[in-house]
Symmetry: C2
Subunit: 629 residues, 2 copies
């Protein structure tokens, strides 16, 4: 099994990752920064961990058999910082892209690029080369750190450099610099950085000896780096994978990243005894700032390149994992895995799981709870540093059954510790998706769980704006609010509940039908593994819902497999009727889907979201009768 | 028993503390504040709690039989805010003093005064009227909120107002506005504030109806208050009770208070199931920012006016208390109380206790652990928002005995989550206490646990400076570092360990003797309850230590009481020899105190620190022989 760190014992970190004796783990502070105001930056967390718990395991990479303590990792990160600093013509504010799965490389980049005064551009490895080329070119990256498995995504064309000096491409073979391993360009890059760092330091010490600098003025190790003077400076540029149009670059700041990471550490109760399993891609909104939150808590990163459920269950069972994050589709695969059994970390109870994108269904919630996986439903966007809203479970829920708890947990809830209140404002009747055209004041919806509006955010956990896209930024900004595009209601307790993301709302006979609500209810049917609802034109009601359903293993076994279901019209009709009856018992008549369709699987985006645009395309070819059973 | 909230059931909060229907719990944000940057202010925590957990108990006041939910408390605080706003000629930046023991009043003031744009000046109720007069006059307070028990501390002279409009004095009888109680001026003040708030709101709504303001522009409830635009603005002015000279006013900011409160909530693992027992005075450095940290965590304030150990044990045993803070002298009284028994809060284990001023001795540590009180040793000053350094217990300590753990815990350790690294810099040989006279760069001590220097702090958890005392500020500032005056070493792990506060160092025969070290070791003697060491002139060694010792109950019982010990020279000599032998076995010869003196009790300041200046005065009258046994 890959997760057994069999050869870890023989692993010796390379020189570039060895902390020097009396390692100095502090940044130089500009004299212009007043004594009472250190700029907030997530970089502080790594240095603080290396100072206070130098020998604690910062990261474990069992697939590749290597690991670093916080002290080693801080030394390695400084080597990376200097390697970036010595790129020809490098200056503050430049961008470095990272193309990598979950590896030490991408975590290191989230500190090293920032320390060099740069902006990290994490690339979605499930994008096509054309998409990657667009992003690299739009961002104007100065260098690319790429994992060898994804080297094919790096475009080799002159278009990229846009007239500037060439773009440096550094390939990592994810060896951790293991002696005797194949040549690893990234490790060579770090070794160069280390030499440069030591050379600069030696010069400063010589200047002291030659009295050019006064005694004690020489800077050592991390002191060679100056902390940013402006906490509102951008530190990350994450491109959203929009379903329509070009990707947009979300610019976020040092201050926001610091406060978001603190919020995640507090809200998820991460401490120095925690082990965080990297299931969520780190390239996804800087891993929801967990790349820094884990360091803030002195916890351990447990890194897996692949979302392999055998490996995940091995880690959950044997490696003391306490936390992970993921979409419901990932959770489904985890709870239905044959190795699934109740986790109990050294008697310390549950594994805390942040679930985003959509709420866990009652069925999923029940299964997770039975396995000791404690879900917390969160909501956010790349534009909000990942999740910034969560449902606080009420102690009174203990008396409720799992169906009722799932229904309450489906609400997105309230803002994180350092987030401002999430609001919901009405859209004008003639709204066309562009808030810059909307005049007059924003009108909040009633807190009645009914009146529909758009979720709006502001404050420290909201992006600066879209990079070099003032038009796109102005479309989502209104009176200093960031308009998320997600439709929601507010309940009397003030909690926000999303009804639909963007275009997913079904308007049937003039009534608004929440596709999320229908999916949540339909998923409670005993035969259903997962489902998705889209709007489809209807001659009488203008629109009605078309539900795509994936059967669970019990139903498939009963019916003799998917091929059998597909070919057997009678069985299919019986099941459709069962779905319809289930829905009728649980929702208004206008909300019951007109059409059901049993499918083998749902099309999904690289981040696990159902691609409703693909489903919409598919039904365009249907006549009214087809699949209307 | 006063803590049994017998009559809570009959308590109905007054109208000024009743939340209106559809209570709006957000501040108005100036249009000048960009969308991505809400100014950090601890005021947000109360409003957020009232929004998300409106019906959760915010505070319980069992001695007076009243309590408020977060929603009620937010309404009450808004009433206070408006009451302050309508003081004649009130403007932002003015000061309001609070003279009160631990009561709802002082907690409310920490939000209401800030919301009115003012600066809170918490007064030490153990000060004399002359000291209070000095502080009020120096701060230039515009109003005084005073608990009726401490009304005698309010000076009634014209000197106070300094030519400005008169100082408003509002007396609280701590009734919570209970119907049928005696007239309570503070409750009347709140009622006036509530009327004013409702009137302003009504006018805004009328302006909307008359189309003077556009629809939705009218502000309601907390929206009538504008959040500060500048997070670096001062929000508190706490006077230190200096042992020499006039008290100095420590100015701290909204930003610092927010980050310190977050750090305390995270480091102490306070969450919404926590109950915080107010043993530490809230007037002491804003209760180390726990006045806000508890709100940030949605926890409950459990308030006691008096430090009465019967009442404290009742609370620990019966009221679900999970956290408290206090000096070792308070801890001593708690662990030696006849009602002491192991605490176990609903099976949730230990009560977390922050211990400051000096470290728990091995004896105290062992007793606390046996009772389920988990101590964490913290260090800080009023100038650093209370504690900002703590010792992270190492998991490896489990194998150590209590003596060894106490010795490691005596080190002050490392900075809090949002604190910068605490440093130790050498003092110049001719240092006279004034850093403004020191030229040349600061020189850090070696991390060898030996080289002595002064603890220096900077960053977000350090004060702005001393109010209207540029001279005192410049004496403690050097190259943007705040010099604490506390002498310390750094250990190889980077942790700071204080050897002496200010003038407590004993320099014997040219060797530095840490009074804290000697006290820590001497306290491990089986007869010793507590002790204090001071420097006393010595004909041969220039100085040597004089130890004052308080015997514990076992030793007193054995010797037949303190009067007996005092009069019995033989018994005294025997015990002195035993102390001397104990010290000789545990420290260098030059560090062993030359003199021992058994006393009935140690003189202490209002905050529980031993008054070494009093002890120094006392020995001035001694000849060399007296008490030299």
């Amino acid at each position: 099994m890959a997760t057994t760190p069999l050869d870890m014992a023989t692993y010796i970190p390379p020189d570039s990752s060895q902390p020097p004796a009396d390692f100095v783990l502090r940044l130089t502070v500009s004299a212009s920064i007043p004594h009472h105001r250190t700029p907030l930056s997530p970089l502080h967390f790594l240095l603080r961990a290396a100072l206070i718990v130098p020998d604690k395991l910062a990261l474990v990479h069992p697939e590749k058999g290597y690991r670093f303590t916080y002290s080693q990792w801080a030394a390695r990160t400084l080597s990376l910082t200097f390697a970036i600093n010595r790129l020809p013509g490098w200056k503050r504010g430049e961008k470095v892209a990272v193309i990598a799965p979950n590896t030490p490389l991408i975590l290191e980049a989230h500190n090293g690029i920032l320390a060099a005064g740069g902006i990290i551009v994490p690339i979605n490895i499930r994008n096509t080369q054309a998409e990657v080329r667009y992003v690299l070119s739009h961002a104007g990256v100065r260098a690319i750190l790429v994992d060898s498995e994804f080297e094919h995504l790096v475009p080799r064309d002159p278009h990229l450099d846009g007239g500037k000096a060439g773009v440096a491409v550094i390939v990592s073979h994810d060896t951790g610099g293991r002696a005797g391993s194949i040549a690893d360009a990234y490790e060579g890059f770090l070794a160069e950085g280390r030499r440069y760092w030591e050379e600069v330091q030696r010069k400063e010490l010589e200047a002291v000896r030659n009295l050019v600098l006064p005694e004690y003025a020489a800077r050592r190790d991390w002191e060679l780096i100056e902390v940013t003077s402006n906490e509102d400076e951008a530190c990350a540029l994450c491109y959203t994978s929009g379903t329509t149009g070009r990707p947009k670059g979300v610019l976020t700041t040092h201050r926001g990243s610091y406060l978001a990471a603190l919020s995640n550490a507090y809200e998820s109760k991460i401490d120095r005894f925690s082990v965080y399993l990297w299931v969520l891609p780190a390239f996804h909104a800087c891993g929801w700032t967990y790349v820094w939150a884990i360091n803030a808590a002195f916890a351990t990163h447990y890194i897996l390149r692949k979302v392999d459920y055998d490996v995940i269950w091995h880690a959950l069972t044997h490696s003391g994992v306490t936390h992970y994050c993921g979409a419901p589709t990932v959770q489904l695969a985890i709870v239905h895995h044959p190795d699934a059994k109740k986790v109990n970390v050294d008697g310390r109870g549950v594994v805390r799981v942040a679930v985003a994108a959509s709420a866990p269904t009652a069925s999923l919630l029940g299964k997770m709870e039975a396995l000791g996986l404690e879900p917390i439903h969160v909501y956010g966007l790349t534009e909000s540093y990942g999740p910034l809203v969560q449902r606080y479970p009420d102690p009174e829920w203990k008396s409720l059954n799992v169906d009722e708890r799932a229904r309450l947990m489906a609400r997105q809830g309230h803002g994180f510790l350092a987030a401002d209140e999430a609001r919901v404002f009405k859209r004008p009747e003639d709204f066309d998706g562009d808030w810059s055209k909307v005049h007059g004041p924003l009108r909040p919806v009633k807190r009645d769980g009914k009146e529909l509006g758009e979720i709006a955010l502001r404050g420290n956990l909201v992006m600066l704006g879209y990079f070099q896209d003032a038009a796109a930024t102005s479309r989502v900004m209104k009176d200093n609010w960031f308009m998320t595009g997600d439709l929601a209601v507010r309940h009397p307790g003030g909690e926000v509940a999303i009804l639909d993301r963007g275009k997913d709302l079904v308007i049937s006979g003039g009534e608004n039908v929440s596709s999320l609500m229908v999916e949540q209810e339909l998923a409670a049917h005993p035969d259903v593994l997962e489902c998705a609802l889209i709007a489809r034109p209807h001659p009488k009601w203008s629109e009605s819902g078309h539900a795509f359903v994936v059967l669970n293993s019990c139903a498939l076994q009963r019916e003799g497999g998917y091929a059998n279901v597909k070919s057997g019209a009678a069985a299919t009709a019986r099941m459709h009727e069962s779905f319809r009856a289930h829905c009728k018992a649980r929702m208004s008549g206008f909300a019951v889907p007109q059409w059901f369709e049993i499918v083998d699987e749902l099309p999904k985006t690289s981040t696990g979201k159902v691609q409703k645009n693909v489903l919409r395309e598919r039904v365009k070819g249907y006549d009214d009768k087809q699949s209307k059973l």
